[in-house]
C-alpha cells in the first residue's frame, strides 16, 4: 500500500482534549494509518494512502469535530524553495552553455570579418540553419511559451520582445537559406543572420542566469536570520533532560543551556548565570551578563555559564520570529518612489512594439539600399535592446538589501515607505526618560554637612525612604541596599506629597525632602545653597536630610545619560539634522541635560498626552519630523511623527507603533538608520536613472537616430549584450549597498 505523510495547521485548538478528539476523528477516516496532533504547534501530521484519502476528507474529518484544517497551506521550507531554485538555475546554465557554443559557431561562420577564419563547413548556410534551430526553439522555448501565455491575457513583456526580435531574424535567415532566389530578385545578396538570433538568445539567457544568481544575494539577510534558529532544545520534563525539536517546546518548559550553546527560545532565567552574546539580534558586539530573573532571547549564544530558563515565548511569538516576519513584510512592501516605475512599465512593452513598427516603416521607405535588410536589422535591434526588467528591479532589490542590512545592525524597518521617508528627516525629537537617559534614577552624590559619615547619611536616608513609594526613593533605597546596610526601623512615618517624608529614626526626628520641606520645617540651608544650585544646574534632583531641625546632608539623584547619547546626537548633527528633546521635567533640569548633550531645542514640562501636539507643532513649521521614544508610553507621538523610531527594550519589540525599531538601544543607531535610508535612496535613484536612461538613450540609437549624422547603427548582437548587462548591473548596484558603512 502506498503511504504518504502530510502536515497541516489546525485552527481553533485550545486544550489537550482537542488533541484527542482530532486524532480520533482523523484516524477514523478510511485509509488513514496514523495521525498525531501537536497542541503547541497547532499542526496535525497524518499518514495515509493517497489513493483513498483526499484533502477534502481530511478537512471534513477536522471540521466535523469543530475545528478548521488548513490542508493546502504552504508548508514548503526555505530549504525546499532553495532546492527548486537551484534546479531551475542548473537547467538555465545548461541552456546558456549549449546556446552560446552553438551560437558562437554560427557567429564564427557567419559574421563578416570572422567568417574567413572559419572552416568551410561552418560557412555553409544549411549547417548554420541546423546549428541555430535548437537554440531558437529549444533554448528559446521559454520565450515563446511566456509570449503565448501573456498574449492570452493581452499583455506583453520582455519575452515577447525577445521572441519577436529573434524570430524575425531567424525566419529571414531561413528564407535566405531555403529560397535564396527570393531575395536575389529584389536585389539583396542572400546572407543569413542566424548568428544574430542564436547569439542574442544565448546572451539574454546568460544575463538571466547572472541576474538570478545576484538576486539570490538580495534576500540573504532573511536566510541568515532563519539560519539563526536553534534546531533542538534540552528540556527538563519529569525530572529528565530530553532533547526536543524546537517546535515541540511549549510555554512553561524549563530548558537547560550549557556553555557555547545557542539559546533555543525566549524565556526568563530560573537558575544560574552567564554571559550571553546577543550580537546576532541586537548588533551589539559586547556580551551581556545575565542572572536569575533576566530575560533571554532565542537564537542568542550562551558563552560562559550554565543556566536553566523558563520558556515564555515559542514559535511565531519569539523575538527572532517577529524580526523575520517584520523584515519579510518590509521587503514585500512598496516604496512610493516605485510608483513612477510601475506606471512606465505598464505601457513600456506595447510602446516598444509600436516603435518597432515605426522603425521598420521609416527604414524601408527612406533607408539606404538594401532597405529591407536595414529595416529588419534595426527593428530587431529595437526589440532586443529595450529592457523593462531593469526598471522593475531598480527599487525592490535596493529595498531588500537595505532592510536586510538594517536588520543585521539591529535596525528593524517596518516598510519601504518608512525607509524612503527617513532620508528626508530634518528634525528629530528625542524623548528624555528611558531614551536619552537610562530611565532609572541613580544616586550620584552623597554630601555630608554636619559631622556625619557618607555611609551613615545614606543609611539614614535609605531607612526613612524605605516606606516611600516615590520613584526617587527607590534609587536611594537601592543604593543603601547595595552597600548591604541594615536599615533602621522608622516610627511615625509620614509622606508629605510634593515635599518629602518624615519620621522617627533611632529616637530622633528625621525629615528628608526638597527645599520646600526644609522651609516648612524652618531648617536653614546655610552655605549648602551654592552646592544645591550647582547640582541642580547639572540636571540632578537634590534632596536634603535634616535631623532635629538641623540640615545634616544632601543626596543627589539623577537619571543617568546613556553612554551612546552624546556620540549618537553628534552624528545626527553632522548629518545636518536638528535635534530636540521632549520631557515632563522642569525647565531647569531639562536645560541642564540639554546643555550636557548639546541640544538647543528643549521642550520641557510636556505632559505625556501633549507630546503628540508638540510633534505636530514642529511639523507645522514645515519640518519632516522623527520622534524617538520607547514605543510604549509615547505611541501617539510616534504615530504622529513622519517617522516614529522606537528604542526597543531588547525583548519587547514595540513593532506596531513604530516605523523603525532599534533593538539594540544604542542611540548611534538613529543616525545609522538615517544614513541607511539615504544610501538606499541613492541606490534606488541611481538604479532608476540608469534603467530609464538606458532605455531612453539606447532605444533611439537602435532605431537609427545616430545614422543620419554619424552613420552609426547598432548591431542587434550588441543590443543583446547591452540588454543583458543592464538588468544585471541594476541588481549588482543594489548589492553594493551591502558594503556601505552605516555606523
Amino acid at each position: 500500500m502506498n503511504q504518504t505523510k502530510k502536515t497541516f495547521s489546525i485552527k481553533g485548538m485550545h486544550c489537550a482534549s482537542c488533541v484527542m478528539i482530532l486524532e480520533r476523528s482523523l484516524k477514523k477516516v478510511e485509509g488513514v494509518s496514523g495521525a498525531t496532533v501537536n497542541l503547541a504547534t497547532e499542526k496535525a501530521t497524518v499518514t495515509y494512502d493517497p489513493a483513498i484519502v483526499t484533502d477534502a476528507k481530511l478537512s471534513s474529518a477536522v471540521s466535523n469535530v469543530g475545528y478548521q484544517a488548513l490542508v493546502n497551506e504552504e508548508i514548503k521550507t526555505e530549504d525546499e524553495e532553495q532546492k527548486e531554485k537551484q534546479k531551475e538555475l542548473k537547467s538555465l546554465r545548461f541552456k546558456v552553455i549549449v546556446s552560446l557554443i552553438l551560437g558562437g559557431l554560427v557567429l564564427w561562420g557567419g559574421f563578416p570579418g570572422l567568417m574567413k577564419t572559419a572552416p568551410m563547413i561552418l560557412q555553409n548556410f544549411w549547417v548554420q540553419l541546423i546549428l541555430a534551430t535548437p537554440v531558437q526553439f529549444w533554448a528559446g522555448f521559454g520565450f515563446y511559451r511566456a509570449t503565448l501565455s501573456a498574449l492570452k491575457h493581452r499583455t506583453a513583456n520582455m519575452d515577447t520582445l525577445v521572441a519577436i526580435g529573434t524570430t524575425v531574424a531567424y525566419i529571414y535567415s531561413a528564407v535566405v537559406t531555403i529560397l535564396p532566389e527570393l531575395v536575389t530578385k529584389i536585389g539583396i545578396e542572400p546572407m543569413p543572420y542566424f548568428d544574430t538570433a542564436a547569439v542574442i538568445i544565448g546572451l539574454i539567457l546568460l544575463g538571466r542566469y547572472f541576474e538570478a544568481k545576484a538576486k539570490a544575494g538580495t534576500s540573504e539577510a532573511i536566510k541568515k536570520l532563519i539560519g539563526l534558529q536553534a534546531k533542538t532544545a534540552r528540556v527538563l520534563r519529569d525530572g529528565k533532560e530530553i532533547d526536543l525539536p524546537i517546535n515541540e517546546v511549549i510555554i512553561g518548559d524549563i530548558i537547560r543551556v550549557r556553555p557555547g550553546e545557542k539559546i533555543p527560545v525566549d524565556g526568563i532565567i530560573e537558575s544560574g548565570e552567564s554571559s550571553i552574546d546577543e550580537s546576532m539580534i541586537t548588533g551589539e558586539s559586547m556580551p551581556v551578563d545575565k542572572v536569575k530573573g533576566d530575560v533571554v532571547v532565542g537564537a542568542t549564544m550562551n558563552k560562559t555559564g550554565t543556566f536553566t530558563f523558563k520558556t515564555t515565548k515559542v514559535g511565531g511569538e519569539t523575538m527572532l520570529a517577529q524580526i523575520i516576519k517584520l523584515v519579510q513584510e518590509a521587503q514585500g512592501s512598496k516604496a512610493p518612489i516605485q510608483r513612477l516605475a510601475d506606471l512606465v512599465s505598464s505601457y513600456f512593452v506595447p510602446v516598444v512594439l509600436m516603435l518597432a513598427f515605426v522603425t521598420f516603416a521609416v527604414w524601408y521607405n527612406w533607408g539606404p539600399a538594401p532597405s529591407l535588410l536595414f529595416a529588419l536589422l534595426n527593428t530587431v535591434a529595437v526589440l532586443i535592446i529595450a529592457c523593462p526588467c531593469a526598471m522593475g528591479l531598480a527599487t525592490p532589490t535596493a529595498i531588500m538589501v537595505g532592510t536586510g542590512k538594517g536588520a543585521e545592525h539591529g535596525i528593524l524597518i517596518k516598510d519601504a515607505e518608512s525607509l524612503e521617508t527617513a532620508h528626508k528627516i530634518n528634525t528629530i525629537i528625542f524623548d528624555k526618560t528611558g531614551t536619552l537617559t537610562k530611565g532609572t534614577p541613580e544616586v550620584t552624590d552623597i554630601i555630608p554637612i554636619e559631622s556625619i559619615g557618607k555611609d551613615e547619611l545614606l543609611k539614614l536616608a535609605g531607612s526613612i525612604e524605605k516606606g516611600s513609594e516615590h520613584s526617587l526613593a527607590e534609587a536611594i533605597v537601592k543604593a543603601a541596599e547595595e552597600k548591604q546596610f541594615v536599615l533602621s526601623k522608622v516610627e511615625k512615618f509620614q509622606a508629605i506629597p510634593g515635599h518629602g517624608v518624615e519620621g522617627i529614626v533611632d529616637g530622633k526626628r528625621v525629615v528628608f525632602g526638597n527645599k520646600r520641606l526644609m522651609d516648612k520645617e524652618n531648617i536653614s540651608i546655610g552655605t549648602a545653597g551654592d552646592k544645591i544650585s550647582e547640582m541642580e544646574n547639572s540636571g540632578k534632583t537634590v534632596m536634603m536630610i535634616g535631623i532635629e531641625n538641623k540640615l545634616v546632608g544632601l543626596i543627589a539623584v539623577a537619571d543617568i545619560i546613556k553612554e551612546s547619547a552624546k556620540e549618537g546626537l553628534l552624528a545626527l548633527q553632522k548629518l545636518g539634522i536638528e535635534v530636540a528633546m521632549i520631557t515632563g521635567d522642569n525647565q531647569r533640569t531639562a536645560n541642564a541635560i540639554g546643555h550636557i548633550l548639546g541640544i538647543n531645542r528643549i521642550l520641557a514640562e510636556v505632559l505625556p498626552d501633549q507630546k503628540e501636539a508638540e510633534v505636530r507643532k514642529i511639523q507645522a513649521e514645515g519640518k519632516v519630523v522623527a520622534m524617538v521614544g520607547d514605543g510604549i508610553n509615547d505611541a501617539p507621538a510616534l504615530a504622529a511623527a513622519d517617522v516614529g523610531i522606537a528604542m526597543g527594550s531588547g525583548t519587547d519589540v514595540a513593532i506596531e507603533a513604530a516605523d523603525i525599531t532599534l533593538i539594540n538601544k544604542d542611540l548611534r543607531s538613529v543616525a545609522a538608520a538615517v544614513v541607511l535610508s539615504k544610501k538606499t535612496m541613492r541606490t534606488i535613484r541611481l538604479n532608476l536613472v540608469w534603467a530609464f536612461g538606458y532605455n531612453v538613450i539606447l532605444i533611439p540609437v537602435a532605431m537609427g537616430a545616430l545614422y543620419p549624422l554619424f552613420g552609426l547603427l547598432l548591431n542587434p548582437i550588441f543590443a543583446s549584450v547591452a540588454m543583458a548587462t543592464s538588468s544585471v548591473s541594476v541588481v549588482a548596484n543594489s548589492l553594493l549597498l551591502k558594503r556601505k558603512k552605516i555606523i
Binding site: 493546502n72 492570452k152 499583455t155 520582455m158 518590509a330 512593452v349 506595447p350
Partner: protein, 119 residues
C-alpha cells in the same frame, strides 16, 4: 511612392493601431470574490481583477503554471506580502483589508499585473 512602400507604411500603421488596441485598449473584467479564489499564474494572473469585501478575510490561492522566472514571486506591495510561488502548488494568501480602494499586485519584476479591488 512605390506600391511596396505604400503597403509597408499602411501595414505599419495598422500594426501600431492593433498593438494599441490589443494591449492598451482591453477592458478589465472584474470577478467578485466572497470567501476564496484561485488565481492561475500563467503569462499573467487569471482572473486578473478581483473584488473582495472590506474587513473580511478572503483567501487568495495562487497556482503557478508558468516556469517563467519572472512569475516566481508575487508581490502585494500594499499588503506587504511577498510570496515565492513553487510550480504547480497552491500558495494561499489571506487578506483582511481594512480600507477600500484599488490595489495592484505584480510579479517580482513588475512585468505582470493583477488588481484587487476592495469594496
Amino acid at each position: 511612392m512605390s506600391l511596396d512602400k505604400i503597403i509597408v507604411t499602411l501595414a505599419s500603421i495598422l500594426g501600431i493601431a492593433f498593438t494599441y488596441w490589443f494591449f492598451l485598449g482591453k477592458k478589465e473584467k472584474e470577478i467578485q470574490v466572497s470567501d476564496s479564489v484561485d488565481i492561475v499564474v500563467e503569462g499573467g494572473y487569471t482572473p486578473e481583477v478581483i473584488s473582495i469585501p472590506k474587513n473580511k478575510t478572503t483567501k487568495i490561492n495562487f497556482i503557478r503554471k508558468d516556469s517563467n522566472s519572472c512569475l516566481e514571486e508575487v508581490i502585494l506591495g500594499d499588503f506587504k506580502i511577498k510570496k515565492y510561488l513553487p510550480m504547480d502548488q497552491k500558495v494561499t494568501i489571506e487578506l483582511t483589508p481594512k480600507k477600500t480602494g484599488e490595489f495592484t499586485y505584480s510579479c517580482a519584476m513588475n512585468m505582470y499585473h493583477g488588481k484587487i479591488i476592495v469594496k
